[in-house]
Amino acid sequence: MTEAVESGAASSAAPRAAVSDLAQFRTVTVSQLTNYLRTYRFLGLLGFVALISVLTIAFELHAGVTATRIAQLNRSSEYLSNFLAYAGLWIVISAAFFGGDALSVDFSTGAGYYMLVLPIKRSVLLAGRYAAATVVTLAIVAMYYLFGLGGAIYFFGGGTIDWTNLGLSLAIAVLFTLSALGVAFCISAVFRSPSSGVLVTILVLYVGLTTLQGVLELANVEPWMSLTYGGGAMAAVLDTDFLHYQTVPLGEDQFYTIWSASVSEGVAIMAAYAAVFLPLSTFLYYRKESTG
């Protein structure tokens, strides 16, 4: 190591200009995305979802083409609807992995001392991270959709695919991703520990809301306040025998109701979640201090 500072190295002559929030948003997004794409978390989740998809199709191949067709009522849309019923789970896990610690990392590790001292608005930082988390989550979801589409084409033929509703399902998946990440970011803004944020996001979005949905259905109440209920529209849009609700008898004068969100209802629920939780995340992030 040399001891002298080279002449001119201490001061810069590089031109510097005012930078817009949009340009900073792009910088933050690219930086965060670059980091995400290299993490074992992303590669592991991508590999896991691919493995589950391959195993699912392998079991169907083992059962045989005819048996799979019969099981899916001879309809590619039924096949896709059943296959994509798990897309919500992958979105929830991915949202927890990439959103559950997106903000808490600034207050529990030294990342905040690197990024929060820059002349960037916290809302811009949050937006950039949110965009990056959306991209990686959608990459995983898109791969799952491709596996589902591949299976549907193999078992039922390319001509049977209902492209319109498949596209609609994908659009709903994007909205579900945005709203699930909104919840995850909000949880991340509350918790200080990154692992707590990830765990609580999974508990809230998957265990908590699914349990709430089950309890409400037993009480014959439509679980319209549950995000995961609204996310069911991803698969429901491909179900040609879609029913908004079905009553199941439990005994004499007793029954419970199984509800399924329609597309419009699902979109409204997801939009409401995003509209509430994203501003709340921003507010909490602005208020948070680096006290550690």
Partner: protein, 308 residues
């Protein structure tokens, strides 16, 4: 030349119900030069720096950087601020280049200027290989990358919290020399526990204890205040006790540090220092005659001791 003004106005910060971490601290920084921010652990140095960059909100008072609040208007307030607070950690999966480019672009550098700017930081700080991931760097390498991030795009004000912490001796020298060069046309506020380093770099000192600002003054005035009466002298050749006898006769107490170096505690006030130097030069050629380390350290001990 820095035209940035950093103002702390009656700044207080409390955490919970305990005594305030910072209690009614006010100062104004402007122009160029280096200011040492000194105090024992828990005095409130890092809290002050966090308040200055908006990582904390003051309980009372406010921070203004060129009139802008770093919490309410952080983009404008921090535009000319490069900060190294606590132990920054860039995202571990980013390369050194990615981590610095992110900062450069966020600070308004054009894409084509980023490489030149990273190269400048590399020349100043001998950064690790640009393609290496941050997560794979040693503590000292990460500290140098974080310091480079504070320098990216050449902000006029540098707020540095123990900038040489975690560095090896060679790296410390490198950073020290860089800061000496930077203070010519930048404003540097640095906290440190390395008194020699502070004495070497800073023109002005601020002493903080238990959240209160005790003293702010120029190093030479603080030297007068503590009436330092010890100097270390280094001769160009070995000098034994017999040759030092004329200095002893001045009333000084001598302690050999090596065959060429002596520590001289002289009688009288600070004004006796020139007489000691003249006497030493009669003994043998003097290579070094230094007391800065002792001034800062003694001032620190005297002020902090006085306040406890």
């Amino acid at each position: 030349m820095s035209d940035v003004t950093v103002e702390a106005l009656h700044l207080s910060k409390s955490f919970g119900h305990g005594p305030p971490a910072l209690d009614d601290v006010s100062f104004e920084l402007s122009g160029t030069g280096a200011i040492g921010y000194l105090g024992p652990n828990g005095a409130g140095k890092t809290t002050t720096l966090k308040l200055l960059v908006g990582l904390l909100r003051p309980t009372r008072g406010e921070v203004r950087i060129n009139g802008h609040s770093p919490t309410a208007d952080r983009k404008r307030a921090l535009w000319e601020i490069g900060a190294l607070v606590e132990t920054p950690e860039p995202y571990p999966m980013l390369t050194v280049y990615d981590a610095l480019a992110t900062v450069g672009l966020a600070r308004g550098l054009r894409r084509e200027s980023v490489d030149a700017e990273i190269d400048r930081c590399h020349r100043a700080l001998e950064l690790p290989p640009f393609g290496r991931r941050v997560g794979a760097l040693s503590k000292g390498q990460r500290q140098r990358v974080s310091l480079a991030a504070a320098l990216m795009a050449d902000p006029k004000v540098l707020l540095l919290d123990e900038p040489t912490s975690g560095l090896d001796p060679a790296e410390r020298v490198l950073v020290r020399r860089l800061l000496v060069e930077l203070k010519r046309d930048h404003l540097v506020l640095m906290s440190s526990h390395q008194m020699f380093e502070v004495g070497d770099i800073c023109d002005e000192l601020m002493f903080l204890d238990r959240g209160r600002l005790l003293v702010r003054d120029r190093v030479d005035r603080i030297a007068e205040r503590v009436q330092n009466r010890e100097v270390d002298v280094e001769f160009s050749e070995p000098v034994d006790a017999a040759r030092m006898e004329p200095i002893r006769q001045l009333g000084a107490t001598l302690r050999p540090l090596s065959d060429r170096r002596w520590r001289i505690a002289f009688a009288g006030v600070d004004g006796g220092r020139p007489g000691v130097l003249v006497a030493c030069q009669r003994v043998a050629p003097v290579v070094q005659f230094a007391n800065t380390f002792l001034v800062v350290e003694e001032a620190y001990l005297e002020l902090i001791g006085r306040s406890t």
